[in-house]
């Protein structure tokens, strides 16, 4: 399992994985909300690096723009618009948390087990295209034009809805 050749990709994967996991775990365990968001942004950036490793430059770019940028900023706005004393007395629910942890761990065990036992055939090399962005653009505007347009409608509706929901304070 661990007798992989130490290639450049491996080392890079390892570094990014450390960044991602550290970001995620910190997000869960930090005290202050803003710190959580920042650690999550680090995890998002690590993910973008992994996308680059996977020959998905455009997706990596989008990841940085939307997640590390937009979503994180949005969350920070959300935090600032709500009140976070942070020290809100945590009425401990140990049973609930334990059960959630057990459930998550079991799920991970199952996933890990199935990933390790699955037999993934690697057939053929991946061709990301001369220009990854160009290739994706061609696909988007030919084979996937309908989902693409639907997504644009969805985004419009979502943002109008978000404005409508948040605007209530004016009243």
């Amino acid at each position: 399992m661990f007798n992989v050749d130490i290639t450049g990709e491996y080392i890079a994967f390892f570094i990014f994985a450390v960044i991602i996991i550290a970001g995620a775990v910190l997000m869960i365990s930090l005290e202050k909300v803003v710190h959580m968001v920042i650690s999550m942004a680090a995890a998002f950036l690590g993910l973008a690096g992994m996308y680059v490793l996977l020959d998905a430059e455009f997706v990596a770019f989008v990841q940085v723009l939307i997640y590390a940028g937009a979503v994180s900023i949005l969350m920070i706005f959300g935090i600032m618009m709500t009140k976070h004393n942070g020290e809100a007395v945590e009425t401990a629910k140990p049973l609930h948390e334990t059960l959630a942890a057990v459930g998550a761990l079991c799920l991970f065990g199952l996933l890990f087990y199935s990933i390790r036992t699955a037999d993934f055939q690697s057939a053929g090399a991946f061709d990301p295209g001369q220009d990854n962005t160009l290739a994706i653009g061609e696909q988007l505007f030919t084979g996937y034009i309908v989902p693409f347009e639907l997504l644009s409608i969805l985004l419009t509706v979502a943002f109008i809805g978000a404005i409508a929901l948040a605007k209530k304070e004016a009243d």
Partner: protein, 100 residues
């Protein structure tokens, strides 16, 4: 390398799941959901390179997912703000109106 990426996705997903289920701050729950979505995205992209039939489709799907997630985040934060206005808190324990 594929199993490594998939394991990475699974780790992200499970951490997100724990956060979504166990955290009491609604914002953190939202962040955890984003984390889960990212775990899925990683799977998609990994399969697009190392899958049985490597193709760009995986990347396309991850772009779609990211878009939907962005919309979801916007709506969620809006709802959260509305709720905060109504209840004065973002602790998830307070939102148990479903019970009645």
């Amino acid at each position: 390398m594929l199993p490594s990426y998939l394991t990475m996705g699974a780790i992200l997903f499970c951490i997100g799941l724990y956060g979504a289920l166990a955290k009491r701050n609604a914002i953190i729950v939202l962040l955890s959901l984003e984390l889960m979505l990212n775990g899925v995205n990683l799977n998609l992209v990994a399969f697009s390179k190392y899958g049985v039939i490597p193709s760009l489709t995986g990347q396309l799907f991850s772009i779609f997912t990211i878009t939907v997630a962005a919309a979801e985040a916007a709506i969620a934060v809006a709802i959260l703000i509305a709720l905060f206005r109504a209840r004065g808190t973002v602790l998830i324990d307070a939102f148990n109106r479903m019970r009645r």
